[in-house]
């Protein structure tokens, strides 16, 4: 009996010591991926990963660019690796073959999906990301025009060390600038699981801009940065281009397939309606001449509703915005109430225009990204059940009224426009 107790105790102890470590991984044996690009070519899937080089990133961001399969990039301290496979997972696994460390995707900030793959359907991408035990649903998802790999490889990043962090920054900023949002994987899955199953995913594009000439390159006089076209400035014969990324409109998805595009203003039109605008700038015209006035929208309330009257459906988009006068080019006193009223109606018209153009585009593509389907479901669940199956067609012929109410509250710290010698 005593022996048995001892045996149990010893067994317990050894069991304690032998368990647990099976998934032990040292943090420095991991390859942190920052950004993923998924593409399709023929029947092959291509997975491209941006992998952080910790030493370079943590050590102050100095040193040469990444090797791997990507081009030598002076800006990002990352390694790019790309592989093909029959499935995304297969491609990812093969990718691991060329890395000395285990790829660790839990810290992935963003996922890019190529146009071709997006047209064929996001389903497999979402399935892969959702099933993967490490991937987080909080990663951002974006689409690219053309191959996503090209964008990932070509992008050099700007202020941030990796493209993933660059996109994180962009997503934060785009929320407060009004031009839509960058959805997370979770958002997209939720949107596409809803009855209307339409989503809007922003487009990431490479936008090249000239690099300021490096101090060593130009020896003649002072190098004016930025103003390369002006007189007296040093003309850089072939300015090196910095390929940063930017958000450019959005792709319309219906049933996980890419069906159309919106430009930036249409994207903002969508954002007004879906109440995604925190702040925005509107450029309006002065009432008297063709000069411009900027109005900053500080508060925006958007609402999508649906009305049924006599069996006829009517979509209503109501947007209420408030804003401040931020800048004016003309010399009129804009503090007068009537002038403000004119500006307000202009602002309302501008917003309504953006919304209408977005609506038109969405209707053409048959993607109910405004979630009229959801509104109908909430108001008339029975009717929605009947219409659900043929909702894209119903949405295409749904009359939509846009009502915008704009208020301009303040004119900033100065009342009248400043001009030289006014006093």
């Amino acid at each position: 009996m005593l022996k048995r107790a001892t045996a149990f105790l010893a067994a317990g102890l050894f069991l304690m010591l032998t368990t647990g470590c099976w998934d032990r991984r040292e943090i420095n044996d991991l390859a942190f991926t920052s950004c993923f690009a998924f593409d399709v070519e023929g029947e092959e899937r291509i997975a491209t990963a941006e992998i952080v080089r910790p030493a370079a990133v943590a050590g102050g961001g100095e040193g040469g660019g990444g090797g791997g399969t990507g081009a030598a990039l002076p800006q990002r301290n990352v390694i790019l690796a790309s592989e093909r496979g029959d499935t995304l997972f297969g491609a990812g696994r093969r990718l691991a073959l060329r890395l000395p460390r285990r790829t660790y995707v839990a810290h992935t900030d963003a996922v890019l999906v190529g146009e071709e793959l997006a047209r064929r359907g996001l389903r497999e991408v979402l399935d892969h990301l959702e099933r993967h035990q490490e991937f987080r649903r909080t990663a951002y998802i974006l689409v690219t025009r053309g191959s996503a790999r090209d964008v990932l490889v070509a992008a050099q990043g700007g202020l941030e060390a990796t493209l993933g962090r660059e996109i994180t920054g962009l997503s934060r900023w785009v929320r407060t600038s009004g031009f839509g949002i960058v959805p997370t994987i979770h958002d997209v899955i939720v949107e596409l699981s809803a009855g209307a199953s339409a989503a809007l995913i922003p487009v990431l594009e490479i936008s090249a801009q000239p690099l300021p000439p490096s101090p060593g390159a130009a020896t003649s006089g002072n190098a004016a940065s930025g103003g390369s076209g002006q007189q007296g400035a040093v003309r850089v014969p072939d300015p090196e281009m910095l390929r940063t990324v930017s958000l450019k409109g959005a792709g319309l998805f219906h049933q996980d397939r890419l069906v159309g595009w919106l430009d930036e203003h249409q994207t903002r039109g969508w954002a007004w309606a879906r109440n995604q605008v925190r702040r925005a700038i509107l450029e309006l015209e002065c009432p008297e001449d063709k000069k411009k006035v900027s109005v900053e929208i500080t508060d925006s309330q958007g609402k999508v509703q649906i009305q049924t009257s006599k069996g006829e459906l009517q979509g209503i988009i109501t947007v209420k915005v408030e804003g401040n006068l931020l800048e004016q080019q003309c010399l009129h006193d804009l503090t007068a109430v009537e002038v403000l009223r004119i500006l307000e109606s202009q602002a309302a018209a501008a917003i309504a225009g953006e919304i209408n153009s977005a609506v038109a585009q969405a209707k053409q593509a048959g993607a109910d990204v405004f979630d009229f389907g959801g509104a109908l479901y909430r108001q008339e669940p029975q009717l929605w059940k009947q219409l659900k199956a043929r909702w894209p067609e119903e949405f295409k012929k749904l009359p939509i009224a846009v009502q915008v109410e704009a208020k301009i509250r303040r004119t900033g710290l100065s009342l009248k426009p400043w001009q030289p010698g006014a006093r």
């Binding site: 647990g20 032990r24 040292e26 942190f32 952080v52 810290h107």
Partner: protein, 560 residues
């Protein structure tokens, strides 16, 4: 039950029998087993011989024979334990002044001598045990021919350290007196602060060889009777040859001897002891040790510094940092290990990359890294404690280098690990009482092991095990997590923060609660109309008798 088992049992039984036999044999050889109840002989010579034989003709046993009223008498004392001045100045002249003419019976003589000795502390004994131990306590025995009675005169005096500032428990605000090794001094330090006849000192002699004086101190009517009884019964059970320090007692009477957590508070500060006694606790003073035990306590009293009593109550929220630092000291290295080896997704991306970069140069797993740095640190602490002061400085500098830049440069540890270790070290020394800090230090290593093998799950299991242990732990019968684990709303006033003294009307419930003594008078914000009384009276009220109930008799005490 197999053959092997039976064999094992037989072996255990034999072992037990042998140890019992040894213990019994040993107990006979331990000196002074029980006090001898043998009476003295009326014959002085026989008595003197007995004494000399008992002390084995020890060098410091002095026997001074005198004649008092025609009778032979002898002063016996241990030279090393008594004040020679007292004997030469007070005892001997008193005896000599009695004169030579005789004619007294032995009984009359004893009374006469007793009445004429200018000595404060005097006792009459007639048993050998009392006499021998009296001598060992530094008393002087006056034996007289023809009498079985012995006068024991208190003349004890030995070298003692002056009262100095306590070294371990320092305060910013509060008295700077600390206990010394001398028991009477310590008693006087307490008595001076608690001038009430209800203060009790109960003397025990523990240890067969050391015969150490142990005093338990409490307020009659305030300390729980159950606690006192339990303490007494536990003290009664102590049977050992030596008590050198209060630690011996602590270990022999604590509720759970295998727990790393201190179940009694130990302090060097008389003011803390008095505060505890006033709360209904019992203090145990041990002769020869400046550390006084107070009990029963709970975990939260271990986290209270002496300053907390004196600093304004508003700032007593600083205790929160001590609570936090306990967790930091216990868990930070374990969490670091768990996060870096199992739960990478819990670290913010940027930090994860930074840690990965730092760890690239470290050849072994985070678990070993943590273990190594922790052990190095503990060794440094031990060295710092033990080394003589001049060398200590060198150790600190070398230590700072080892756990500093050098370890990182050498690729021995990552910078993050160094931060973790140093934070842990700092946090573990925020405990005002050293005992709890040591417990936490000890538990840290197993936590690192758990984190290294099971990750967060292991840490949770460890914390859970500690919590389970803590809720079952008792300090002299009272629950260790007292006002929190059996949740007592009224006692929350001294856990996270200390309530202002004018609101501390009741004592902790489990430690006596509301009993005879008045704590504070509630409502001290009585409005005093300005100039309602003549100015002198007002000053009087403010200076002297603000606390006395008004309107009852002449409230003014004559000054001067």
């Amino acid at each position: 039950m197999g053959r092997d088992d039976r064999l094992l049992l037989k072996m255990l039984h034999r072992l037990w029998k042998r140890t019992r036999a040894r213990r019994q044999r040993h107990s006979q050889t331990v000196p002074g087993k029980g006090k001898s109840q043998a009476p003295l002989s009326p014959d002085l010579k026989a008595n003197v011989r007995y004494l000399q034989e008992t002390f084995g003709y020890s060098q410091d046993l002095v026997i001074r024979e005198v004649t008092v009223k025609e009778r032979r008498a002898a002063l016996a004392y241990l030279e090393s334990m008594v004040d020679r001045d007292v004997i030469q100045r007070d005892v001997l002249p008193s005896l000599m002044k009695l004169g030579r003419e005789g004619g007294y019976s032995a009984r009359e003589l004893v009374t006469l001598v007793r009445d004429n000795l200018s000595i404060g502390h005097l006792k009459e004994q007639d048993r050998w045990g009392d006499v021998v131990y009296g001598l060992l306590d530094g008393q002087v025995a006056l034996l007289m021919d023809g009498s079985r009675r012995v006068l024991l005169l208190g003349a004890d005096s030995w070298e003692k350290r002056a009262v100095t500032e306590p070294e371990v428990e320092t305060v910013i605000r509060g008295p700077r007196e600390g206990f010394t090794e001398d028991l009477p001094t310590n008693i006087s330090l307490i008595r001076r602060r608690l001038r009430t006849p209800d203060l009790r000192f109960e003397t025990w002699y523990l240890g067969r060889a050391t015969h150490t004086r142990v005093v338990i101190s409490y307020l009659e009517g305030l300390a729980l009777q159950e606690v006192l009884e339990e303490l007494r019964s536990r003290l009664r059970r102590i049977d050992t040859d030596g008590i050198l320090e209060s630690g011996y007692i602590e270990e022999m009477i604590e509720d759970c001897p295998f727990s790393p957590f201190p179940q009694f508070a130990r302090t060097e500060r008389p003011d803390r002891v008095v505060a505890d006694i006033l709360q209904g606790r019992v203090a145990i003073l041990t002769d020869g040790s400046p550390f006084v035990l107070t009990l029963p306590i709970n975990l939260f009293t271990e986290l209270q510094a002496a300053d907390d009593l004196y600093e304004r109550w508003v700032v007593s929220f600083i205790r929160l940092y001590r609570f936090i630092s306990i967790f930091v000291a216990l868990l930070l290295p374990a969490l670091y290990v768990a996060f870096t080896t199992f739960h990478h997704e819990m670290i913010p991306t940027v930090l994860a990359v930074a840690i990965a970069a730092q760890r690239e140069r470290v050849p072994y797993p985070a678990f070993l890294e943590a273990l190594l740095m922790q052990i190095i640190f503990e060794i440094l602490v031990e060295a710092g404690l033990r080394l003589p002061r001049p060398v200590g400085q060198a150790v600190t500098i070398v230590g700072a280098l080892v756990i500093g830049e050098a370890a990182i440069r050498a690729g021995l540890a990552s910078a993050a690990m160094v931060i973790v270790v140093s934070l842990t070290a700092i946090a573990s020394f925020t405990n005002p009482t050293f005992g709890l800090g040591t417990a936490i230090r000890m538990l840290r290593l197993p936590m690192i092991f758990l984190a290294g093998s099971l990750g967060i799950f292991g840490i949770f299991a460890g914390v859970l095990a500690i919590l389970i242990h803590l809720v079952t732990l008792r300090s002299l019968g009272l629950p260790y997590l007292a006002p929190v684990a059996p949740f007592i709303w009224e006692d929350q006033k001294d856990v996270v923060f200390r309530a202002p003294w004018w609101l501390m009307v009741t004592r902790p419930k489990l430690e006596g609660g509301l009993r005879n003594f008045i704590r504070t008078k509630p409502g001290n914000k009585k409005f005093v109309p300005p100039r309602a009384e003549p100015p002198e009276a007002e000053i009087e009220t403010m200076m002297g008798e603000g606390n006395r109930p008004r309107g009852k008799g002449p409230s003014r005490r004559p000054r001067h």
